[in-house]
Amino acid sequence: MTAAPREAVRRGNASRLGWMRRAMRRRAAIVASAVLAAIACVTLLPFYWMLSSSLRTMETMFRLPIQWMPWPPNWQAYALAWHAQDFTRYFLNSGFVAVAITLSNLLLCSLAGYSLTKFHYRGRGVTFLAILSTMMLPLEVTMVPLFLIIKRLDWANTYQGLIVPFLVDGFGVFLMRQYMMSIPKDLIDSARIDGASEFRIFWMIILPLCKPALVALAVFTFREAWDMYIWPLIIITKDSLRTLPLGISLFMSSYGTSWDQLMAIAVLGTLPMILLFFFLQRAFIQGIAATGLKE
């Protein structure tokens, strides 16, 4: 059996060897693809099950044998669920809060990153470490006193209560700082010689150069803000201010067994993130990758 390749070597038949190597590499690719496809089934199952169950009727919900494709699809659950609570309002609230937090993070994180890389003042290193150390203070640790502060400010049940504590994030500052370190200082100096004001330099030269980092930061921040649950749960009791995660969990506790409607709301609550993912796939994955180490 092993004679063939050896023969090929002896005769210097490179093309035959190359063909064998290609065949082996192909086989490895087929095996790897098969393994990954099997894993993809596991990661996609909840999505598929959520979607298909939202189209089932309650009578067929748990029927066996398993009905993978409910037919005819039953769209009623969507309208019923949407109007059972003020989900339009929850959607708008979540969108507004997430967009506001994202925009302010983009601005403040890049300003702070710019300051930490391109200016010299006493205490800059300590400032950076202090900002970085806020990563040690997650909301889960500080929620009790933070709630007391918000109450003192009379910001419970307000948009500012939902937004202001998250206007800027230590990790975002770190991300922008790392990116801005690679921007040459000469660029700024020559703009200064041309008479551009400091803010204009930041706005017209630095920010456009940071576009990849900004997109990654935006996607990352938006995802976190859209996902936020514990904080609105603590400070929001008014229905008109509920965000989508609050609305969904409330719906779950009051319509706990109407699985068709629950799945319909789950689909609608995931849809914005799925759309964002499909349109900004590269940025999305880079946003996650950016949370790792930079070489």
Binding site: A28, A29, A32, V35, L36, I39, T43, L44, L45, P46, F47, W49, F62, L64, I66, S115, L116, F119, H120, T127, L129, A130, I131, S133, M135, M136, E140, V141, T142, M143, V144, P145, L146, L148, I149, L167, V173, F199, F202, R223, D227, Y229, I230, I234, L244, S249, M252, W259, L262, M263, T270, M273, I274, L276, F277, Q281, I285, T291, G292, L293
Partner: protein
């Protein structure tokens, strides 16, 4: 050093040594100072937000942890009492144990799973982009939605038990038994975390220069040898970071147990953040909740410290 900084220093120490150039120098000094002032001004909003909404609450948490406070009567100083009673409270000890179990069991499997996936994706694979997007999807699902959908799937006659039935496994009362509820929650944690860290590992793998692999090939190293002696050692910092990030995320898990089980059955899924939340906002025992937060803070801090060190490594010289 930076020439500007040196110029500023010079201007500070020798303002009038050479009178002939003092005007020019003072002009430059003012310019440098104006620039530094701009640099300080643009970081102030960030510092203000972080001071009021991160550092101040932390200090206040330390203060509250030595008081008894029920939101109605003013805080009353009680010394170590909160900490002492917590350490003797079987519910707290149980909660701490649940949290540790959750962290260990949801972090350990993610490491080989996410690394394995990244290695598979780092070679030639058919329809790579489609598969990568498909496997990435759990990261996209909001935590609350995830809790709702998995609660549905974990029902007694739900899809998970149906699929297990195909393998000849009897239905498991996932969320209704204290023996399995925590594992159900852990499985979801793994389902969500694996693709996230896969992306980070992929970035780490792609940062390894191809020369290393070419050299290994010339030396006749096989697949396993290359992985063992080149990929793994070079990925060590990434692996450490993945562990640390994952531990921190796992310590903060809240939405999934809160919605799926509310901490039950029989306290088997009451992780520490959930217990803090319930103590503070259901039993209004702010002092006790703050003392628990201090325990959580110490745990998070140890790991965050490693993370910060990783992020700033090689910067000591600057």
């Amino acid at each position: 050093m930076y020439p500007e900084a040196r110029a500023v220093k010079l201007a500070w120490t020798l303002p009038t040594v050479r009178p002939g150039r003092s005007i020019a120098r003072r002009g430059r000094w003012n310019l440098a100072r104006r620039q530094a002032a701009f640099g300080v001004a643009i970081i102030l909003p960030t510092l203000a937000v972080l001071a009021v909404f991160r550092f101040l609450p932390m200090l206040q948490a330390l203060y509250l942890s030595v008081t008894a406070y029920d939101l109605v009567h003013p805080p009353r100083f009680v010394g170590w009492a909160n900490f002492v009673s917590l350490l003797h409270d079987p519910l707290f000890l149980k909660s701490a144990r649940v949290s540790v179990t959750y962290v260990v069991c949801s972090v350990v499997p993610v490491l080989p799973l996410s690394l394995g996936l990244a290695v598979l994706f780092n070679q030639s694979v058919f329809v790579k982009n489609v598969l990568r997007s498909a496997i990435f999807m759990p990261v996209v699902m909001p935590a609350v939605v995830m809790a709702v959908v998995w609660t549905f799937m974990y029902q007694q006659d739900g899809v998970v038990n149906t699929l297990l039935g195909f393998l000849g496994i009897d239905p498991i009362p996932w969320l209704r038994s204290s023996a399995t509820a925590l594992w159900a929650v852990i499985l979801i944690g793994i389902w969500r975390a694996t693709p996230y860290y896969m992306v980070i590992f992929l970035a780490g793998l792609q940062a390894i220069p191809a020369d290393y692999y070419d050299a290994a090939k010339i030396d006749g190293a096989g697949r396993w040898g290359t992985f063992r002696y080149i990929t793994l050692p070079l990925l060590k910092p990434t692996m450490l970071l993945v562990i640390v990030m994952n531990v921190i995320v796992a310590m903060k898990v809240f939405a999934v147990p809160m919605i799926m089980t509310g901490g039950g059955p029989a306290d088997s899924t009451r992780v520490l953040p959930l217990f803090i939340y319930q103590t503070a906002f259901e039993f209004f025992d702010m002092g006790r909740a703050a003392a628990m937060s201090v325990f959580l803070f110490v745990a998070v801090m140890v790991f965050s410290f490693v993370q910060v060190r990783l992020f700033t490594r090689g910067e000591e010289s600057r």
